[in-house]
């Protein structure tokens, strides 16, 4: 069959103050009708630039196609070189013959227009439908993307819809004119794993039903394994390797592809292994070749959380009184041993971050007890709490936002030492040097500013800062979620090395279940503020017992093209609201012990 898209030696440049910068160069690939081509790469690889070029949207970001052809077979069978098409023609192609969906469902819809208006304007423009006909078609589209209560959605505004529903609307919009090519640019990156599974299944079904081609842009190798027919691997604006999904995953030729694949944790690969394992990094085997399983030591409890409950007020009415409460953390209890990692997993809004923050009293829990190294954190007054913070530090998700852009890194790492009066003068300098060594950052980075570092390097600085006061507990809240996969593997390995060397305990808060499987000793699954299942990592992953744990694990994409899970429509139970009226007394969390240390919430 004739290819619907053939990209030939595409080159895109961006004008900057210091002259043109090449976004992508020498990019060539083809897509056949009914085929899914995944373009995969880390940030800055040029994958998005490539997709935006096909829509000629790259110009709105300051880019220009300076060489190459982008041939697209139009509905009437003629071939159009998109790179040279005049704006009027592109207006007919965009949204009509090529549909596109983007990463951020929360911002992809215009907040001040109704869903109906946003679904119908393209139809009226391209298909010449009148308003009633366009509305009827919009309703049909909402049904085809399986949105509950589609009639009501038409009159609603985007903010009234959940993230998953918005992404369904965005897909409906892209599908409105039955395009022959759908470009999906990281369509599930911002979504929870169950919603991601639903959206991936939806794209697969629509593709099958309409016979359209899909250009799927992603950074996630697991998603590639689940979705792709063929794969293009990009790195720094160039194509590294092209092949079928089996070739790429099972017999990658290029070193970059190999290292990318190695760094991806595969759900299920830890089966039968007792202890966490370092992430695989090509060329890193030697670094810790001598690593042996740590001596099994007598478990010693560092952190004990008993019946922790945190609520946030919902204000309303004329006097801004509290009218309801968000039950963010609901009767949560667990222990964490010295030198071990407890992972809290769950989807957005499940309370895992609130739980971490409540433990550190960054937000005040409503009730419950937190004991760290035999000290009752909840009973401390302000001064003692400040001192106690030396034992418990935090690493945040966004390494761009958690460092002060105006201060040198040296000063930022030294700050906790100064705050606690632990070092000064030459000693301070020496301690900061040691910390930079510990997180494997070059010493000359000390005098730099945050913007001069990459995301992974910044996260190392954040870790160095947390380590400065020799904490016993580190709460890592999505600490590697914002990083590229190879960088993520490096930072995780660093964290595991530090754990081994310093006996650190981690409360590892994450939505990434494949990573958790690799790094955690114990896992707690959170849902609506409660831990629904907790136990040793092997027990939870090998014998998931609570229905929510099971559905969560079934939604995780596996980085193995032979193990595909999202062929048919999936509908996970939507998460209900954690908001309850004042005075609501929730039932206590009661657990059944089904194996040693493996507990499941009683229904």
């Amino acid at each position: 069959m004739k290819d619907i898209v053939s990209v030939d030696h595409l080159r895109v440049e961006f004008a900057t103050d210091s002259g043109p910068v090449v976004g992508v160069e020498d990019v060539s690939f083809t897509i056949a009708p009914g085929e899914t081509l995944c373009v995969v790469g880390e940030s800055g690889s040029g994958k998005s630039v490539t997709s935006l070029s096909l829509m000629r949207l790259v110009e709105f970001g300051g880019g220009a196609i300076t060489a190459g052809a982008l041939n697209f077979v139009r509905a009437d069978g003629s071939t159009l070189d998109v790179a040279a098409a005049p704006p009027e023609i592109m207006g007919q192609v965009r949204g009509n013959e090529i549909g596109m969906i983007f990463q951020e469902p929360m911002t992809a819809l215009n907040p001040v227009f109704t869903i109906e208006r946003q679904l119908t304007d393209g139809l009226m423009l391209h298909k010449g439908l009148n308003q009633p006909a366009a509305t009827a078609r919009a309703l049909e589209l909402l049904r085809s993307v399986r949105i509950p209560e589609p009639e009501r959605r038409l009159k609603q505004y985007p903010h009234e819809l959940s993230g998953g529903m918005r992404q369904r609307v965005v897909i409906a919009m892209a599908m409105a004119c039955e395009p022959k090519l759908l470009i999906a640019d990281e369509p599930t990156t911002a979504l929870d794993v169950t919603i991601q599974a639903e959206i991936l299944a939806l794209i697969n079904r629509l593709k099958r039903e309409n016979g359209m081609a899909v250009l799927f842009i992603t950074h996630d190798m697991a998603v590639v394994a689940q979705m792709a027919d063929r794969v293009v691997v990009m790195y720094r604006g160039k194509i590294v390797e092209t092949g079928t999904v089996q070739q790429i995953f099972e017999a990658p030729r290029e070193d970059y592809t190999k290292s990318l694949l190695a760094a991806v944790p595969k759900l299920g690969e830890m089966k039968g292994k007792a202890a966490p394992e370092r992430m695989r990094l090509i060329g890193d085997e030697a670094a810790r070749a001598t690593q042996t399983a740590p001596e099994p030591r007598e478990p010693q409890v560092l952190l004990e959380v008993r019946n922790l409950t945190t609520r946030f007020p919902v204000k309303g009415g004329i006097l801004r009184r509290t009218v309801a409460q968000v039950h963010a953390v609901e009767d949560v209890s667990f222990t964490l041993n010295v030198g071990e990692t407890l992972a809290l997993v769950g989807e957005s809004g499940c309370g895992k971050s609130s739980c971490g923050r409540s433990i550190l009293r960054l937000i005040e829990p409503a009730s419950g007890e937190v004991w760290i190294a035999g000290r009752d954190i909840g009973a401390l007054n302000r001064r003692d709490l400040r001192r106690a913070r030396a034992d418990m530090q935090m690493v945040f998700q966004d390494p761009f936002a958690s460092l002060n852009p105006y201060r040198r890194l040296k000063a930022q790492v030294a700050e906790p030492l100064q705050n606690f009066g632990l070092a000064s003068g030459a000693e301070l300098e020496a301690r900061v040097l040691q910390l930079f060594d510990k997180v494997q950052l070059p010493r000359d980075f000390m005098n730099r500013f945050p913007h001069e570092l990459s995301g992974g390097q910044r996260q190392r600085v954040a870790i160095a800062r947390a380590l400065a006061v020799n904490p016993k507990l580190i709460v890592a809240d999505e600490a590697v979620s914002a990083l590229d996969v190879s960088v993520q593997a490096q930072v995780l390995n660093l964290m595991m090395d530090l754990q081994e060397d310093l006996g650190l305990s981690y409360l590892f808060i994450s939505h990434d279940i494949a990573v958790v499987e690799r790094v955690a000793h114990h896992v707690g699954v959170m849902y609506l503020g409660r831990i629904v299942e907790i136990g040793p990592r092997a027990a939870v992953f090998d014998n998931p017992t609570h229905p929510y744990t099971r559905s969560l694990l079934s939604a995780v994409p596996i980085a193995d093209p032979r193990n595909r899970r999202f062929a048919d429509d999936l509908n996970f139970k939507p998460i209900t609201s954690p908001i309850f009226p004042l005075g609501h007394q929730p039932a206590p969390s009661l657990y059944d012990q089904i194996a040693p240390a493996h507990y499941v919430l009683r229904a």
Binding site: F60, A108, V112, G163, G316, S577
Partner: protein
């Protein structure tokens, strides 16, 4: 990770806070503010040096007659009683008489507020009509020459005082071109066109001064909106660029611009004092000026209250307009 909005609403009330709640909320706060305004106005005018009775009868008047007048005006009553009289009078429609004009204040204010409303509305309309396109133009061509032209124009408007523009207007449009009368005022009920003609030049002068902030606000909100994903989505749908900018983007950007415009109404009442005097336009600004100049305390008190109330109500109107523009506000 961001929390999906829409999940965090109390069960059973998908629209926690309908527009009605919001509107009631705002009305209540306006009423409270108006009450505070009467307090402040009353306090300030009573602290001001000067004696109403003395002002009525002159400094050389008979002390006994003064005492009698004070008694009959209620000036010897406790302040709380006087305040009660004033507010009670306003509520019942008896706003007292102006000392200098020897007329009921209510009628006087009613007449002048209409005159000034023409200038205020016209100048704001001129400012918005210039500022919004200029700001959008600058945002669309961000960091290009158009952007510089727009911000220079805006800067020129704001860096020169209003009365300077007033003088320029008189010179150009009245003296040289003779298109508009240079000064004066006619009753809009008598000669609507003539009233508009006389209001136009002062409004244009004021509008140029107002334009600067509005242009910058339009530019900055538009710049923010144009970088949002839904703009890219709109383009990906194949919508024409003018639809993307003038419908999709502007509908989102206009809210903050209107908010600033509403706040500027307050400044406008300060500016019209100078501008109306310059153009011999006898509106609220001119009336305020006369009242202050002649220490007409009852008139000052009522004028200040009316201006404050108008500014308050304008901002209330803006807030309500915002509800229409942006559906997210309806959640209160």
């Amino acid at each position: 990770m961001t929390l999906p909005a829409g999940q965090y609403r109390p069960a059973g009330s998908p629209h926690a806070g309908l527009p009605m709640t919001y509107i009631l909320n705002r009305l209540l706060s306006v009423t409270l503010t108006l009450f505070l305004i009467t307090l402040v106005t009353f306090a300030v005018t009573n602290i001001l040096p000067g004696d109403v009775a003395m002002m009525i009868m002159g400094t050389q008047s008979n002390p006994e007659a003064l005492t009698g007048l004070r008694e009959s005006l209620g000036l010897n009553d406790p302040l709380l009683v006087q305040y009660g009289h004033w507010v009670g009078g306003m509520v019942s429609g008896n706003w007292g008489d102006s000392l200098i004009f020897k007329k009921p204040i209510l009628g006087l204010l009613g007449q002048k507020i209409v005159a000034s409303a023409i200038i205020v509305v016209l100048s704001m309309a001129i400012a918005l009509a210039l500022a919004v396109p200029l700001g959008v133009w600058a945002a669309v061509h961000r960091d290009k020459w158009q952007d510089n032209v727009s911000s220079s124009a805006a800067l020129l408007g704001v860096s020169l005082p209003d009365f300077f523009w007033g003088i320029v207007m008189i010179l150009v449009f009245a003296r040289w071109l003779g298109w508009f009368p240079s000064s004066g005022f006619v009753e809009p009920s008598v000669d609507p066109l003539g009233a508009l003609q006389r209001a136009f030049l002062p409004s244009l002068a004021l509008g140029l001064g107002l334009m600067a902030h509005l242009t910058r606000m339009t530019r900055s909100t538009m710049t923010g909106i144009l970088s949002q994903e839904f703009i890219r989505v709109a383009r990906a749908k194949g919508l024409a660029e003018r639809t993307v900018i003038w419908r999709y983007a502007l509908a989102n950007a206009i809210g903050p611009v209107i908010t600033i415009a509403g706040l500027q109404i307050g400044y406008l009442f300060g500016s019209i004092i100078v501008m109306e005097s310059l153009f011999g336009y006898t509106g609220m600004g001119w009336l305020t000026y006369q009242a202050l100049l002649n220490r007409d305390l009852p008139l000052i008190q009522d004028t200040v209250f009316v201006i404050a109330a108008v500014v308050m109500l304008t901002n209330l109107a803006v807030d309500l307009l915002y509800v229409v523009i942006d559906p997210r506000i309806r959640l209160g």
